[in-house]
C-alpha cells in the first residue's frame, strides 16, 4: 500500500518537520525512573528462554531465545514464516507457549493474561495496524492510559469529579503525543478514516500513551511510503533517546540498520544469530537464510 502524494500531512516540508517533531513532554513522573537512559550494565528489560510453540504438527517457534536490554532498540529479523510474529504473540501472551519462560522487568510473565502484561508496561502493536474505527483518533489515544479511575463501573457513580480531572489531563497528554506524530489535525476524526501509514503512527502513539517500559513494534515500516518511514524512524529514535525500550520486527533492512543497537535473527523458529547490525549483515548464515543457497 502506497500513500497518495495528495496526503499532504504525511509529506511535511522539511522545515516544518523539525518544528512538529518537538520533544515529548516528560512522561508520568511515576514511570520516569526506569525510563532514564543509563549506561551501566543492568538486567535486560525482557528475557525469553527456550520458547516453544506447536500448531498441530508444525513447530512455529522452536527453543527461541531473545533479550532486550533496557533503553535499547532491539531488532528481530528473519525470513517470512520464521516465527517472528508468533514469538511476539508468545511474549505478549496472545498465545500461550508450550514451553519456556518470559521474564519482563525481573518478573515471570508467561502465565499472565495479555492485558496484565500490558498493565505491567509491555505494549505491542500489530503487523497490520489495528485501530478502533468508529472511535475518534483522540478516543483511541485516551483508551490506552492504564489504571483510569473511570474504567471501574462504580467509580462512574461516585468519583465523577476525579474522572473528569483525569480525562482533562489525559486529553492534554494525548494531544501532545498526537502533535508529535503529526496527527493533531485528525484528533476528532474517526480513526477508521486514517490512511494505512497514519494508522501505524496512531498505533505507536497509542502504545506510548499507555506509558509503557517496552514497546513491541511489529513491522512499523511495512506498507508505508519512504517519507513516512523516515518520520516513523525519527519518532522511534526520539522516544528511545527519552528512555523508551523497543523490540522491533522489521523486513526493511535500512530501517533495521539505522535503528537497532542489537539484532536477533530467527529462521524456522530457531535462533540463527544475534549481534550488532554490522555483524549480522556480514554473517554468512544469515545471508543464506535470506537468499537461499
Amino acid at each position: 500500500m502506497v500513500d497518495k502524494p495528495s496526503n499532504t500531512p504525511e509529506f511535511p516540508h522539511p522545515e516544518q518537520t523539525s518544528a512538529r517533531l518537538n520533544p515529548l513532554p516528560p512522561l508520568d513522573p511515576a514511570g520516569q525512573k526506569e525510563q532514564t537512559p543509563t549506561t551501566r550494565p543492568e538486567l535486560p528489560i525482557l528475557v525469553a528462554n527456550g520458547l516453544v510453540k506447536n500448531f498441530g504438527g508444525i513447530r512455529a517457534v522452536d527453543d527461541a531465545t531473545i533479550e532486550v536490554a533496557k533503553g535499547s532498540i532491539t531488532g528481530l529479523i528473519g525470513p517470512n514464516g520464521a516465527g517472528k510474529t508468533t514469538l511476539f504473540n508468545l511474549l505478549s501472551s496472545f498465545i500461550r507457549p508450550d514451553q519456556g519462560r518470559v521474564l519482563f522487568d525481573g518478573e515471570q510473565i508467561q502465565q499472565l493474561q495479555s492485558h496484565q502484561i500490558a498493565q505491567m508496561g509491555m505494549v505491542r502493536t500489530f503487523q497490520v495496524a489495528r485501530v478502533l474505527s468508529r472511535l475518534s483518533v483522540l478516543e483511541n489515544m485516551l483508551l490506552a492510559t492504564q489504571h483510569q479511575t473511570g474504567e471501574k463501573f462504580w467509580n462512574t457513580w461516585f468519583k465523577q469529579k476525579q474522572i473528569a480531572q483525569e480525562e482533562r489531563q489525559q486529553r492534554e497528554r494525548a494531544m501532545t503525543i498526537l502533535e508529535s506524530i503529526g496527527l493533531l489535525h485528525m484528533a476528532h476524526e474517526y480513526a477508521g478514516a486514517l490512511s494505512g501509514g497514519q494508522r501505524k503512527l496512531l498505533e505507536m502513539g497509542r502504545a506510548l500513551m499507555s506509558n509503557p517500559k517496552l514497546i513491541l513494534l511489529d513491522e512499523p515500516a511495512a506498507g508505508v511510503n519512504p517519507t513516512l518511514i523516515n518520520q516513523i524512524c525519527d519518532r522511534i529514535l526520539t522516544w528511545n533517546r527519552e528512555g523508551m525500550s523497543f523490540l522491533v520486527i522489521e523486513h526493511n533492512m535500512d530501517v533495521v540498520m539505522s535503528l537497532c543497537d542489537r539484532v536477533w535473527v530467527l529462521a524456522e523458529g530457531r535462533n540463527l544469530a544475534a549481534g550488532t547490525p554490522a555483524e549480522i549483515q556480514a554473517n554468512p548464515q544469515v545471508l543464506e537464510a535470506y537468499l537461499g543457497q
Binding site: S92, F94, Q113, S114, H115, Q116, A118, Q119, V123, R124, T125, F126, R130, V131, L132, S133, R134, L135, S136, L138, E139, L142, L143, A144, Q146, Q148, T149, G150, E151, K152, F153, N155, T156, Q160, I163, E167, H188, E189, Y190, G192, A193, R206, S210
Partner: protein, 389 residues
C-alpha cells in the same frame, strides 16, 4: 368490509389508550436499552434477551406473592437476571462470538420451559394472576388531589427534561464527535432535523397531555404504572448515557471495535463483557417486573423468543449504539403496532389471525426498506458505515 373512517381512527386516541401505549413503549424501551448496552456498545450478540425479562418477571411476582415488599422483589429479580448474565458470560465468552448467540437463544428457551414445566413453582401454562394489592401503587385506588398533583409534577418534570434533550439534539452539529464548536454562532438547523424535531415534539405533547389528564382526572393503577415505568426509563437512560460516555463506556466501545486492541492496551476484555451482560440483564430484569405488572398476569406464553427479536428491531431501527435511538425505535415500533391493531381491521378484510401475521410482515418489509435506505438506523451516523476496519 366496513369503510375506513377517520372518526373511527381518531376515536382511538383517547387518554386511556394512550396511557397503555406509553406504558408499553416504556417497558419495551427499558428492555431494549439493556440489549443496546450489550449489542450496540459492546458488540455481544445476545439472541436470548427475553431470558432476563422472564427471570425478572417471575422472580418479582413470586417473591411479592410470598410477602416481600415490591421494591425488594424487583431488586432481587434484577440481581438474579444479572446473575444469569454472569453465568452465560463465564460459560461462553471465551468462545467465539457466534457461540454466544447460540447459547443465549438456548438459555432463553430453557428458562421459558422451566417456567412451563415446574408447576409447583410457576403454575405452568395456567400462569399466575397478580392480585391488585401486589401491583405498584395498586392500593392507591383514589389518591387525593395533592398526591395526584404531585404525580403530575413528576410527569411534567420528565416531559420538560425530554423536551430539553430534544432541543439540544436539534442544535447539535451533524458531525459532532466531541469536537468543541469553533464558530461562535451555532450552525443552522437542517430542515430534516426540524421535521423530526417537530414530529417527535408534537407526539410528545400529545402523549404528555394524555398522561397528565389521566393522572389528574381519571386515575387508575394504569396511570400510576405509566408514571413509574417512564420514571424508571428516564433514570436508566440518564445513567446509561453517563456510563457510555465515561472511560468505562470507552472500553466497551473498544471491545466492540476490536477486542484484540483492547487486550493489547491492558483492558480485561472478559470482565468488561461480563459486566455488560450483567448490567444489560439487570435492566431487562426490571423491565420484566413492569411487563408482568402491566399484564397483571404472567404465563410462559408471554416470554417466547419473538420478544427478543422485538427488542432487536427497536435497537436496529433507532441505530445500534445510540440510547436515544433505542427509545425512538421502541416508540415507533409500539405506535406502529398499536395503531395497526386498530386501523388495519378497517382497511383489510381479514380475520384476526391473518391480520396479526400481516402486521408482522409489514414491519419486516419496513425494516428491509429502512436497512436498504438507511442501514445505520434512524439516528445512526452514516459515515460510520464507510469506515474501513
Amino acid at each position: 368490509m366496513t369503510g375506513f373512517s377517520l372518526a373511527d381512527f381518531l376515536a382511538f386516541f383517547t387518554p386511556g389508550n394512550l396511557v397503555v401505549l406509553i406504558t408499553l413503549t416504556a417497558i419495551y424501551a427499558l428492555f431494549s436499552l439493556g440489549l443496546n448496552l450489550q449489542w450496540g456498545f459492546t458488540g455481544l450478540i445476545n439472541f436470548g434477551h427475553v431470558a432476563f425479562l422472564t427471570l425478572g418477571a417471575y422472580t418479582t411476582i413470586l417473591l411479592s406473592l410470598k410477602g416481600l415488599p415490591l421494591i425488594l422483589a424487583v431488586v432481587v429479580g434484577a440481581l438474579l437476571a444479572a446473575g444469569l448474565g454472569l453465568g452465560i458470560g463465564i460459560s461462553t465468552l471465551r468462545l467465539r462470538e457466534d457461540y454466544l448467540a447460540i447459547v443465549t437463544i438456548g438459555v432463553s428457551e430453557v428458562i421459558r420451559l422451566v417456567a412451563l414445566n415446574e408447576e409447583w413453582l410457576t403454575r405452568g401454562a395456567l400462569g399466575i394472576p397478580i392480585p391488585n394489592d401486589l401491583l405498584p401503587l395498586g392500593e392507591l385506588t383514589a389518591p387525593n388531589f395533592a398526591s395526584r398533583l404531585f404525580m403530575v409534577a413528576i410527569w411534567t418534570a420528565i416531559f420538560a427534561v425530554g423536551s430539553w434533550q430534544l432541543w439540544q439534539w436539534m442544535r447539535r452539529p451533524p458531525d459532532d464527535r466531541g469536537k468543541p464548536i469553533e464558530t461562535t454562532s451555532p450552525p443552522a438547523i437542517p430542515p430534516a432535523k426540524w421535521l423530526w424535531g417537530i414530529g417527535v415534539g408534537l407526539t410528545g405533547v400529545l402523549l404528555y397531555q394524555a398522561g397528565a389528564s389521566s393522572l389528574l382526572f381519571n386515575y387508575s393503577y394504569k396511570s400510576g404504572l405509566m408514571l413509574l415505568v417512564v420514571l424508571v426509563v428516564a433514570l436508566v437512560y440518564w445513567r446509561l448515557e453517563v456510563l457510555v460516555k465515561s472511560p468505562w463506556g470507552r472500553v466497551l466501545k473498544a471491545i466492540r471495535e476490536d477486542e484484540e486492541v483492547a487486550k493489547a492496551l491492558g483492558k480485561n476484555v472478559f470482565w468488561y463483557k461480563i459486566q455488560s451482560l450483567m448490567i444489560g440483564g439487570a435492566i431487562a430484569g426490571v423491565a420484566g417486573a413492569f411487563y408482568a405488572w402491566n399484564l397483571t398476569f404472567i404465563n410462559p406464553d408471554g416470554f417466547i423468543p419473538l420478544i427478543t427479536f422485538y427488542a432487536w428491531v427497536m435497537v436496529v431501527l433507532g441505530g445500534s449504539g445510540n440510547n436515544a435511538g433505542t427509545l425512538l425505535g421502541a416508540a415507533i415500533f409500539q405506535i406502529y403496532f398499536t395503531v395497526t391493531r386498530f386501523a388495519l381491521p378497517a382497511l383489510v378484510p381479514l380475520d384476526d389471525a391473518r391480520l396479526g401475521a400481516l402486521r408482522l410482515m409489514v414491519i419486516g418489509l419496513l425494516l428491509i426498506v429502512l436497512m436498504m435506505a438507511r442501514p445505520q438506523g434512524i439516528l445512526g451516523k452514516k459515515e460510520e458505515l464507510t469506515l474501513g476496519r
